[in-house]
Amino acid sequence: MSPALTKNPSLTREANLVSRRTALSRYMRASWAIAWRQLRVMVSNPAFLIPSILMPVFFFSAFAGGLSAISEAPNFDYPDYSTFQYVFVLIQSAMFGGVFAGFAVAADFETGFSRRMMLATRSRSALIVGYALAALVRATIVWVIVTALALATGASISPSAGEVVGILLLITLVNVAALLFAAGMAMRMRTMQAAPLIQLPAFLIIFTAPVYVPRDLLEGWVGSVADFNPVTAVLEAGRELIIGAPAEMLLAFGAAAGLMALTAVWAVTGLRRAERAAS
Amino acid sequence: MRDAHQNGIEVEGLVREFKKGPRAVDGIDLEVEPGEIYGFLGPNGAGKSTTVHMLTTLLPPTAGTARVAGHDVVRDGPAVRDAIGVALQEAALDPFLTAREHMRLQAGMHGLPRSEAERRGDQLIDRVGLSDAADRKVGGYSGGMKRRLDLALALVHEPRLLFLDEPTTGLDVQSRTALWDEVTRLAHQHGVTVFLTTQYLEEADALAQRVAIIDTGKIVAQGTPDSLKAEIGRPTVEAVPAEIAQRDAMRDVLGRFGTDTAAAPGAVAVRLDDGTEELAEVVRALDAAQIRVANLEIHAPTLDDVFLAKTGKRLEGAGEGTESEAAAGRQPTGELEAVGA
C-alpha cells in the first residue's frame, strides 16, 4: 500500500475495505476456477458420474429391496423401511461423493497440476473451497436422482420445507467434511496411492453406524462403536427429520459441525504440508 | 545328410490383412537357405513382427504360402512348431517362476521325459550364463538376463530353425555381443538356420549372411549386405569448412557433384553422383572457390543408404536414431591428407 494512503486514517479504512473486498473476490475467483474445471470435466465426461450414481442406487435397491422384512422385527420403530434406507443412501452418497472428489485432488497433485494452481493464487485455501464446490454440485445431482428413485418406488417422503432445509444442511456438512478429509489425505500423499487410504476409513465410519436397523436394535461390537460414531447422530436425525419428528437435532448438527471442523483443520494442515513440499 | 529343405524357409506371396488399416504384410517372397543367418531389417511398423508371427504359425496368413522346415505353416502347424524355436519381442516369461522351472515346463510341454528335461534344462541355463540365478524368480531378472532365458527356452527342444524377433532391442553392448556370439555359434557349429528381425543395421551387417529390407509390408531389397551396398554404389563425401561462415559456400560447391545428404554437426555431406573418381574434382572445385577445408572424408554406403535409396526414408533406430548420428556412425574408408591429384 502506498505511503500516501497509510498517512490518512479514513483513506486507510476505505483502502482496507476495498482491499478486503478485492481479496474476497480474488478468493472466490480462484475457488470458482477450480470448481469450474472439475465441473467441465464432469460435463465432458459423463462416465465420471456413473460410479457416484450407481453406488447409492445399488445400496438403495439391495437394502430397501432385500432387507425390508427387518422392519417386521420386534421393536423396529420406524414407519417405512424404504424411507429409512433412503436417508442412509443420501448420507452414504454425500460421504462417498466427498471421497471421490478427494481422488481428483490426489490426481491433480500427482500430475503436478496443483503446483501450478498453488503458484497462481495467493489464497491457497481457495483451492480446497473450489474442490468442495464441485463436490457439492456433483452430490446434488446424485441426490436428485436418488430421491426420484425412492419416490418412484413408493417411499413415503413428505417432509416440510424446514425439514428439507435441515436434511440438506446435514448432508451438505457430511459431503464437505468427507471432501476435507479426502483432500487432507490427498495433499499429504500427493499420489493416487492415497485412494485406498481415503476409501477405507469412509467405508468403516459409515458401516459402523445404524445402517440396517435403528440404533436401539443394534447389537454386538457395531452397536458399541456406533455410540461414538458421529454419523450415527446424523443418520438418526435425518431419519427423524424426514418423517417430521425431529429429535436430537442439536446432537446431530453438533456432530456434523464438529466433524467438519476437525476435517477442515486436517485439510488446512495438509495444504500447508503440500505448500512446503512444492516450494 | 538331411534334405536341404528340412531347415529352410520358402515364402511366396505372403499377405496379412487386419480388420482395420492397410495390409501389414503385402505380398512378400523370400527364401532362406538351411544353416544360414538371414536378417530381416526394417523400421518400426514395417511388418517384421507380423511376418515372424506368420512364419512361426502364431498368425494365419490372409493369402500366400510359406514352408518352414519343409512343412506348410497353415496345413502342418504342429510339425512346424516342433522344428522351430522362437524368441519374440516380449521376453514372454512368468515373473513368479524361476529359470529352472521355466525350462522344466517348456521341456515338459514339448514332450521331453523328466530326466532328459532336467539335463537339457540345466545344460542350456549354463550355456547362457544363468546358472547362478537359475533358482531365483524371473521377476527379479535384468532385461539382459530375461533375453538370455528367452533364448535358452527357444532352444530347449533342439529346433533346426530359430526365429529371433528383435533380440537385442534395449540391451547393453555386452549382452548384445554375447547374443551375437551365441547366434553365430548355433548357425556355424550346429547348422541351425536363423531368421532374425532387427531395426539395427549394424546387427544385420554383423550377423546376417543375407538380408531382406522391408518397409510398409513389402520387401524393398534382398541380398547379401555387400551386394546391396555395391548396388547403391555411391559413396558420400563429407567436408568440414575451416570457417563456419563458409559452410553455405561449401554446400553450393559440393551440391554440384551430387545430392545433399545427412552430415555430422558443422559438416556438409553430399552423395557423389559419379563415385569415388569425382573426388579429385571436388577438391579442385573447393580450392577454386577458395574454401578452406578443415576435414574431408569419404564414406562407403551403408545399409541405411540402401534403405534410403529404396524408400526415400531413413531407417528408424538405425545406429540409434538421428540422422547426424547415422552420419557419424559411418565408417570412413580413408581420410585425405593431401589435396591434389
Partner: protein, 273 residues
C-alpha cells in the same frame, strides 16, 4: 554332440504328450504361482471376513424375525463369506490368464504342442488350491468366533468339497472373461458387476422371508442363492439333501457353462494354425 563342420543334431528322445501330462505341467505352474503370492491369498480373505464382522453384528436383530432359522446371524452369514471366496476365484483365474496373454507367455505356450483343455485344466488347478485355502480359513475363523456347524465334522468336509466345486465353477467364468478380454484391468472391472450379482440373492435373509416381491423373484432366479443356501444348510440345519443337491447342481451347471465358454474363447484367442 557336434562335429567341427556344421551338422544338424540328432533328434532328442521325445514322447507324445497326453492331455493329462500337459495338465500336470500347467497345474504345477499354476499352484506354484499361487503359493508364491501369499499377500494375494490373504487380501482375498480380508474383505469377506470384514463384511462378515460388520453384518454379523449390524444385522443381528434379524434373527428375531418369526421364521428365522437360527439364533446366530454369524452362522447365517458365514455362508455368504464362502460364496465371496468364489468371487475372488473368478477374478484370480481371469487375471492370471489375462496377464499371461499380456506378457506374451500365452504365445510361448501356443508354440508348444499345447492342447486347449490342458490349459483350462491347468489354470483351474491354481484356482482350486486358492478355494481350498480360503474355505479352510473361513471355516476356522468362523468357528473360532462362535459360528455353529450343525452338520458336524463330516459337514466340514462337505463344506470344503462344495467350496472346491464352486471355486472351479466360478473360476471357469473368470477364465472366460480373461480369455475374451486378454486384459487384466478389464477383468478387474468386472468385479463390481459380480459383486452386485452376489447381493441380489438370499444373501441377507432366507428367501421366504424377503418382503419385496420383485427382490424375492430376482433372488429366486439368481443361481448364487442356491449355492449360498447349500453352504448355509450345512451350517444352520445339518444335512439337508435338497439344499445340497440344488447348490451342487447349480455349481455343476456353472462349471459346464463356464468351461464351454472358456473353450470357445480359447479357440478364438489361439490364432495359431
Amino acid at each position: 554332440m557336434s562335429a567341427g563342420a556344421a551338422t544338424v543334431p540328432a533328434a532328442l528322445p521325445r514322447e507324445r504328450t497326453g492331455t493329462l501330462t500337459q495338465i500336470g505341467h500347467l497345474a504345477r505352474r499354476s499352484v506354484v504361482r499361487t503359493v508364491r503370492q501369499p499377500a494375494v491369498i490373504v487380501s482375498s480373505m480380508v474383505f469377506p471376513l470384514f463384511l462378515l464382522a460388520i453384518n454379523a453384528s449390524g444385522l443381528a436383530a434379524t434373527t428375531d424375525l418369526p421364521g428365522f432359522p437360527t439364533d446366530s446371524y454369524l452362522t447365517f452369514f458365514l455362508a455368504v463369506t464362502f460364496m465371496q471366496g468364489a468371487l475372488f476365484s473368478t477374478m484370480g483365474a481371469g487375471q492370471a490368464i489375462a496377464q499371461d496373454i499380456q506378457l506374451g507367455f500365452f504365445n510361448r505356450l501356443q508354440l508348444t504342442p499345447l492342447r486347449g483343455p490342458a490349459l483350462i485344466g491347468g489354470q483351474l488347478a491354481g484356482t482350486l488350491l486358492l478355494g481350498v485355502v480360503q474355505a479352510t480359513g473361513f471355516l476356522a475363523i468362523g468357528l473360532a468366533f462362535g459360528a455353529d456347524l450343525e452338520a458336524g465334522a463330516a459337514g466340514a468336509l462337505a463344506l470344503i468339497a462344495l467350496a472346491c466345486l464352486v471355486s472351479i465353477a466360478f473360476g471357469s467364468v473368470g477364465l472366460t472373461i480373461g480369455l475374451r478380454t486378454g486384459n487384466a484391468e478389464a477383468v478387474q472391472g468386472a468385479f463390481p458387476l459380480l459383486f452386485v450379482f452376489l447381493f441380489f440373492s438370499s444373501l441377507a435373509l432366507p428367501r421366504d422371508l424377503i418382503a419385496q416381491d420383485w427382490f424375492q423373484t430376482v433372488a429366486t432366479i439368481n443361481p448364487v442363492s442356491y449355492v449360498i443356501e447349500a453352504y448355509r444348510s450345512l451350517l444352520v440345519e445339518g444335512w439337508n439333501g435338497e439344499a445340497l443337491a440344488l447348490g451342487a447342481l447349480v455349481a455343476v451347471t456353472v462349471l459346464v457353462a463356464g468351461v464351454t465358454a472358456a473353450t470357445m474363447a480359447l479357440r478364438t484367442r489361439m490364432e495359431r494354425t
